[in-house]
Amino acid sequence: MKKIFLLAAVSVAFVVSLNAQYYYDRSKNPDKKTGKISTAKTGRDFDRFYFLSWDNNAPLSNKDFISQSSSLGTKLGFRKRLNDEDKLWVGADFGWAVYKQYEPTNTYTYGTQSVTTDLYNYAYNYSLSGNLDYFFLPMEKIITPYAGLGIGAAYDKFAQYYNVYGSNSTSWGFLVRPEGGVLIGFKENSPWRIKAAFHYDFSSNTSTDFGYKNFSSMGFQIGLVKMAW
């Protein structure tokens, strides 16, 4: 009888101890279930992150207007983990880029009219996309490569400035942005990380005045990521 009582007491103590351990861990994330990857995690179980990137882009369409690459751009976004697998992350990006090119003085003739001037060609590009990223490695790793797709809307303003005069045209379009990159932490499961990624943007924006049938570009972004939970 004593043995049975002792066995029961030890079992209860063991279960209580397990529960205590369980609730200790859950105190950090009380509403979360532990998945197979997050079980092995040390430290915070990050389930979202924010980033701000410096974006460099090369235009691919209508290079007669602007062919020069742009280093005047940024991307701002966030991601939220979709499930405990740590692989699918969903979020949104806001992108801003300015392309510009100087055309030295030239004479342009249209029929009986001729105009001589130097030109400053500008394209202002704004984009807002919903994104889905697939991370190939658990987020706690130092290096976490990913591939993603963004779908959303793009707003372009094409402008030409000469002397005190100018003209512009604006356009909204549908945006598709495949992207591949990597997050690099400063240590395992780092709260701050570097983001480096290549992306291709295609948007259906058109401008008959400036000769755009669409607007596409290749870009490289590098920025800072803040992990959150």
Binding site: F94, T112, S114
Partner: protein
């Protein structure tokens, strides 16, 4: 605490987006106005070789300023004006035309400056200003532009159209060059891009 953190992040993102959306860098203003824009047009039915002589005023050009309270004040004189008329005269001479009395001339070369000054005042309502109902505040936007026009008019066949050749050079107001050098370069360019003006 988590909700507060999320809201804070969301607000930062929204503010950043609005800031960037409003950010449209433009070319440097002083670079833009280094050179004037030179536009020319001609009557496609004109045969410039059929003319031999021209007339023009050498000591003055017409000057129209919509902000000038005296509407009769429409002439500009001075050494810079003389430089401009001389430059045009030299170009016409080089093209093979001879300056003659207006009664004998085939062509009339007319030069004038048109300055348009406009100030637009509007009011916006600030509901948070001092006072119970807020206040209206004025904003003023000013535009001041001036162009130099050169016209060649057919005096032999006055029904052939309003002009044989028209030239528009601007903007004179924003030019950083306080001499007439930039205008003289622009006049050179106007005749250079109009090789059909020749006897």
């Amino acid at each position: 605490m988590k909700i507060i953190r999320m809201k804070k992040g969301f607000v930062i993102v929204i503010v950043s987006v609005l800031f960037l959306w409003a950010c449209e860098p433009k070319p440097n203003g002083s670079d833009l106005v280094k050179k004037m824009v030179v536009s020319t047009d001609y009557n496609s039915s004109a045969n410039f070789t059929s003319y031999s002589t021209y007339t023009m005023v050498l000591d003055t050009i017409s000057y129209f300023d919509n902000s000038d309270p005296n509407p009769a004040d429409t002439s500009a004189i001075g050494s810079e004006i003389h430089d401009i008329t001389n430059k045009v005269k030299n170009k016409m001479d080089s093209a093979g035309y001879s300056l003659v009395n207006e009664k004998l001339a085939d062509l009339w070369v007319y030069i004038y400056v048109n300055q348009v000054y406009s100030a637009y005042q509007s009011y916006y309502y600030n509901p948070y200003s001092y006072g119970y109902y807020g206040s209206y505040y004025p904003t003023v936007s000013v535009t001041d532009l001036a162009d130099l026009y050169i016209y060649i008019v057919d005096l032999k066949h006055k029904t052939s159209g309003p002009y044989l050749w028209a030239c528009d050079i601007g903007d004179l107001v924003s030019s950083q060059d306080q001499t007439s050098a930039t205008i003289l370069q622009a006049i050179d360019q106007a005749f250079k891009q109009s090789p059909y003006i020749k006897k």
